[in-house]
Symmetry: C2
Subunit: 207 residues, 2 copies
């Protein structure tokens, strides 16, 4: 039998597409061939937008959300409640919570959750910066809004322990979201209500 | 409400991903954020492989298949039967037929099918080059292997008419019940045609 791909350029492009999450070889071939039906400028814009994002991405110095400047739009918005900080895994959760319109405080983006299976420890995340940010500041409440998985629970507990000496209320979003579900995919009403009905973290430990 | 994306770089990358077929906004965001977890080199390789494909893609001067040189590997393979040419829509069909291992002839890649709805006429396709290629050559048989849709039928008929003055046998791939399909659930047109075009049973035993 002849080689699978008739062109090494095509094969390279297909191989690169398959490295993206959820893209198999058939979809990768379809995407690669699709680029041949676009103008060179369109394809350049596509490729460069992703390279550009990777090279020039900036993170907010306060909350570590992705942004275009030193401080993100949320941290820079003086009308927001700076006494409440919502701890999330990633930017996707910031966007999901913002879309509920139920939260007017600030965020802290950990950049992941503690996962020994994937080799992600507390030092790989923005946990130390959260503790530092909380100490002697105007922050009165830290809301934990991580995924309701074992990794999320572990991370919640780790942060809870780390904040034990800090004079701050630690709450957790209401578990109206079913166990095992991911925050990113929750519907807005459930997600919004889970922010409004957040409960004291130490109360959940007794459950 | 705050802007949907906290960074214009991210927004651009997401917008570019959504231009790909079958990629919605949620998947696009997932893919864009995935690139932030890769090394800059990996992301460059990804983006450049696609730009490179678009800029440097070459088409075989004989069959218009994608290739790396003047003539594709199939057309350049002298052990193949140059008297039989299989007409296909795209490179994906070449790959699919090659994978069957049942065809040792050459191909002709049209680059699409006639579709008035999408504004694709005969002149947008490699039909004229097929006619030229067939005239006064060693080609004895042209096999039509296009999709069994109205567009495919139209294109088949157009090529058939165009080749009417050329001394060449025109055949079409068998339409019938797929291997593994149950007769009971086959559509009437396919079933009807499979009866009309029935083949000698002893011929099938040789396959």
């Amino acid at each position: 039998m002849i080689q699978k791909y008739p062109s090494t350029l095509l094969e390279n492009a297909v191989n690169e597409f398959t490295k993206l999450p959820g893209i198999g070889r058939k979809t990768a071939l379809r995407l690669a061939l699709h680029s041949l039906r676009r103008t060179p400028e369109e394809v350049e814009n596509f490729g460069e937008s992703i390279i550009n994002l990777r090279h020039n991405v900036r993170y907010c110095k306060v909350c570590y959300n992705i942004c275009d400047s030193e401080i993100c739009n949320i941290c820079g918005d003086l009308s927001r409640d700076a006494s409440t900080v919502c701890v999330v895994e990633n930017i996707k959760e910031v966007m999901a919570i913002e879309n509920t319109g139920q939260f007017r405080g600030l965020y802290h983006v950990l950049g992941g959750i503690i996962s020994p299976m994937e080799g992600i420890g507390p030092n790989d995340l923005q946990i130390e910066s959260l503790i530092e940010r909380t100490k002697g500041s105007e922050i009165k409440e830290v809301i934990l809004a991580l995924s309701t998985t074992m990794e999320g629970d572990t991370t919640n507990f780790y942060i809870y322990r780390k904040l034990s000496g800090v004079d701050v209320k630690i709450s957790i979003i209401a578990r109206g979201i079913s166990i095992g579900d991911e925050i990113e995919y929750a519907d807005e009403i459930t997600l919004g209500r889970s922010i409004v009905n957040r409960t004291n973290f130490s109360d959940t430990l007794r459950l």
